[in-house]
């Protein structure tokens, strides 16, 4: 049987890849995808703990995280569309004013 730490280390690696992507990339959409990656890493840790502790609560939490991620994606992408309409760019370096 695969030990719990293997799943958790995989979750940590995926989370770190998400953090690096968020810090390094300047494209708003790719930054957003990095956030999805981080959410998925957290989900993996939840499911792994749920399996090894014989509890279903972790899986329920993953269900809620997915709902929140769906809501976040809908609103976030709408914001990106609104930003692109006014500034004609999705580069995070050029979006440096709160009001234009």
């Amino acid at each position: 049987m695969v030990p719990l730490s293997a799943y958790l280390v995989l979750s940590g690696i995926l989370f770190s890849i998400g953090v690096i992507g968020f810090l390094v990339r300047r494209n708003l959409i790719v930054m957003f995808m990095s956030i999805e990656l981080m959410l998925n890493a957290a989900n993996l840790a939840f499911v792994a703990f749920s399996r090894y502790l014989n509890s279903m609560d972790g899986q329920i939490f993953v269900f809620f995280v997915m709902t929140v991620a769906a809501a976040e994606a809908a609103v976030g992408l709408a914001i990106i569309l609104a930003v692109f309409r006014t500034k004609e760019t999705v580069n995070a370096d050029e979006i440096n004013l709160l009001k234009w």
């Binding site: 049987m1 695969v2 719990l4 730490s5 293997a6 799943y7 958790l8 280390v9 995989l10 979750s11 940590g12 690696i13 995926l14 989370f15 770190s16 890849i17 953090v19 690096i20 992507g21 810090l23 390094v24 300047r26 494209n27 959409i29 790719v30 995808m33 999805e36 990656l37 998925n40 989900n43 993996l44 499911v47 749920s50 399996r51 502790l53 014989n54 509890s55 279903m56 899986q59 329920i60 269900f63 709902t67 929140v68 991620a69 769906a70 809501a71 994606a73 809908a74 609103v75 992408l77 914001i79 990106i80 569309l81 609104a82 692109f84 004609e88 760019t89 999705v90 580069n91 370096d93």
Partner: protein
């Protein structure tokens, strides 16, 4: 033994596709690789006795959310973006460095972890007898009823917010 082999393959594929997500210049290719990462994670959920979450992962994440991403990427005209040569080399070096420090911290904590928590009421054979989806549904509509209802309100707020934000004039 089979579980270990499948885990190794799926974990390696997940890490490689996740790396390709942040290394690709074209956001469209990034989105495709992110879908592949979600599929690998769905396979890992199957290994962890969570078939309902594996199905939801593919339906909601790889299906709904990523289709939304692809639509937005196609709606935006990103031709000009691709020509921009990114500056801020120091910022990138710092970003990768901080990410690696975080990875070492998380890895050292998780690697030396001992599971001390109290065991729950759902061992794998009981869940297999009752059915994974049925157990989750029963918990959602009994113990977690209030969060479940709040989730529906959250989704309603998200729908209204997205429509208002996407209108022509803000």
């Amino acid at each position: 033994m089979l579980e270990a082999i499948l885990f190794t393959i799926l974990a390696a594929a997940a890490v490689v596709t996740a790396l390709l997500v942040i290394l690709q210049r074209n956001p469209m290719v990034s989105a495709i690789f992110l879908i592949l990462t979600f599929f690998c994670l769905a396979g890992i959920y199957l290994l962890l006795n969570a078939p309902f979450l594996a199905a939801i992962q593919i339906l909601v994440y790889a299906g709904a959310i990523m289709v939304l991403f692809l639509f937005v990427i196609m709606l935006l005209n990103l031709e000009r973006e691709r020509k921009i040569i990114t500056r801020h080399r120091l910022q990138k070096v710092f970003g990768v460095f901080l990410g690696l420090v975080l990875l070492i911290q998380i890895g050292s904590v998780f690697h030396s972890l001992f599971l001390t928590g109290e065991k729950g009421a759902f061992p794998p054979d009981k869940v297999a007898a009752l059915g994974n989806t049925e157990v989750i549904a029963r918990l959602l509509f009994t113990d977690f009823l209030l969060p479940f209802e709040i989730t529906s309100v959250l989704l309603l707020v998200a729908i209204i917010g997205a429509i208002i934000l996407a209108k022509r004039e803000i």
